[in-house]
């Protein structure tokens, strides 16, 4: 069980809903993963009124909690407007805030992100900011009213997995009590297990499942990996050593260290 902003969630895996072969396969993947939160984008779909309503109602029918996002927004104004629309469409104050700074790398614009986060927190939103692993930015986001942080581990859709392990570990170390959700860049279940072993509270992924040959099978694999990583973290892992340690005592030998 995972307490996220006062909501108890059975799973520490959050799943995006874009790029699946079909909504039916998406629904199967959501079930197979055991996820209890899905993200959904609105920016392009809401253009022309509520023209995306059919897809949104399919998402609602999944029976899991919805975290709308501002994917595809490149300015503060766009992101704020999209968040307001999302609150209306899905009836939730939760918003995953993305303000993209680079069209090619999809790196967050942390300056715009901070400004949008301040506006939305004041407006009563529960802001989940998609940010980098920069500690100072993280502090500012918390000061702006964010109660949770979503650092990337690699660029969106890159499937690279954690590229800067030191930064992720120090983020965990700096903010021991803030829910930290690794968002973006995970490619394999082992990546998800790795960041969960670091003590991150949850992971969010989309492409790695949606673009797998069998999204349903991959969703299941990620669900297990997230669970395994978390359980390993809670169970206290051995620290690595430079020499072998026999699991049974050896007698009659000198002690070397």
């Amino acid at each position: 069980m995972f307490d996220l902003l006062g909501t108890t969630l059975p799973s520490r895996l959050l799943l995006g809903t874009a790029q699946y072969p079909s909504p039916a396969i998406l629904a199967d993947a959501v079930r197979a993963s055991g996820t209890s939160v899905v993200t959904v984008s609105l920016r392009r779909e809401m253009a022309g009124g509520r023209a995306g309503e059919k897809f949104w109602s399919l998402i609602r029918s999944l029976g899991v909690r919805i975290l709308p996002n501002t994917a595809g927004c490149h300015s503060v104004k766009e992101a704020v407007t999209t968040a307001q629309m999302a609150r209306e469409v899905f009836g939730t104050p939760w918003i995953k805030l993305e303000v993209i700074g680079n069209h090619d790398t999809l790196q967050p614009d942390v300056f715009g992100l901070l400004e949008a986060a301040r506006i939305l927190c004041e407006d009563g939103f529960a802001v989940f900011p998609y940010t980098t692993d920069d500690l100072v930015v993280a502090e500012r986001l918390l000061a702006a009213g964010c109660k949770v942080l979503m650092p990337w581990c690699a660029p969106i859709g890159s499937a690279l997995g954690p590229v800067n392990i030191m930064a992720l570990r120090s983020m965990r170390g700096h903010f021991p009590d803030v829910p930290l959700i690794v968002d973006a860049g995970l490619g394999r279940p082992s990546h998800a297990a790795t960041v969960m072993e670091f003590g991150f509270d949850a992971v969010l992924l989309n492409t790695a499942v949606a673009k797998a040959a069998d999204p349903v099978g991959m969703a299941c694999a990620f669900g297990k990996a997230v669970e395994a990583g978390r359980e390993a973290f809670s169970s206290g892992m051995l620290e690595p050593r430079d020499v072998a340690v026999p699991s049974t005592p050896t007698f009659g030998r000198a002690v070397f260290s």
Partner: protein, 333 residues
Amino acid sequence: MKVLIKGAGVAGLTAAFELAARGATVTVAEIRHGLGGNASWFAGGMLAPWCERESAEQPVLDLGRDAADWWDAVLPGQVTRGGTLVVAPPRDAGELDRFASRTSGHRRVDEDEIALLEPDLAGRFRRGLLFPDEAHLDPRQAMAALHDKLAAMGVKFHFGTDARHVSGFDRQIDCPGMAAVDDRLRGVRGEMLILNTPDFSLSRPVRMLHPRFPLYAVPRTDHRFMIGATMIESQSARPVTARSMMELLGAAYALHPAFGEAEIVEAGVGVRPAFPDNLPRVEMSGDTVAINGLYRHGFLLASAMARLAGEIVFNHDKPVELAHETDGQRQSA
């Protein structure tokens, strides 16, 4: 047997042919005033079931395999059987491997063979995939030719009518696309461009892979190219957005810089009707057979759907269940 077909998109026209060819007296009623304006009109016209299998489920390949033969037999001269060439820019080469691992019916081609297949792409891509058994047609020419052929076979057409007042038919086949009243259907918006450049030519559809902006360019006659297509979960048919056009043009320019000087002849929008599993349905209710949900596979799957509808009407076959296997469970859950 007298059959009324409602809808003159690719589903309605192919159904009209199947029924008329089997001896029915067929009337087609279309609410629009001509053949244009529906999703079929803005289609790419790629008969590419092996490529589509990258994201589509197996029935799309099974049902679409014979599409090129069907169109070739019905409308000789309309189908070009040049295969499909799939390429990726060097930095997205991983996408090519992904595409290859998700599909069959292709072989690897190197830079030299790409230059032989498409001389204007020489030196631009180091690796590609050729799907030799695929084909393409021009949807607008094919629809017009099929209309003329049907008229010559004695099929009556009524444009600009919802056919509410007509009666005396033994069977009705509904092919209304997005106009259907069906809660299960949703629209998937597709934006496309038609570009004209004399500086560049292609012999076959080319798909350029990209994680975010995949593109296909389908050659038409007179130096024209159909460039497509976006996939947005929206049933808005409003004009092409600036962003979509920029993405399409950016990708086209990356395929070949000659597109930079091309004329934008048309920017179109079609809304594709789709069921939750993105697979089509032929369903029966009383004397009415309904064909819908062809999604982005209108020209690829319409003939197979029409044939199934013909079997239902003439041989009293039961509708074939094509649906994604857990779809029904989800509907009732």
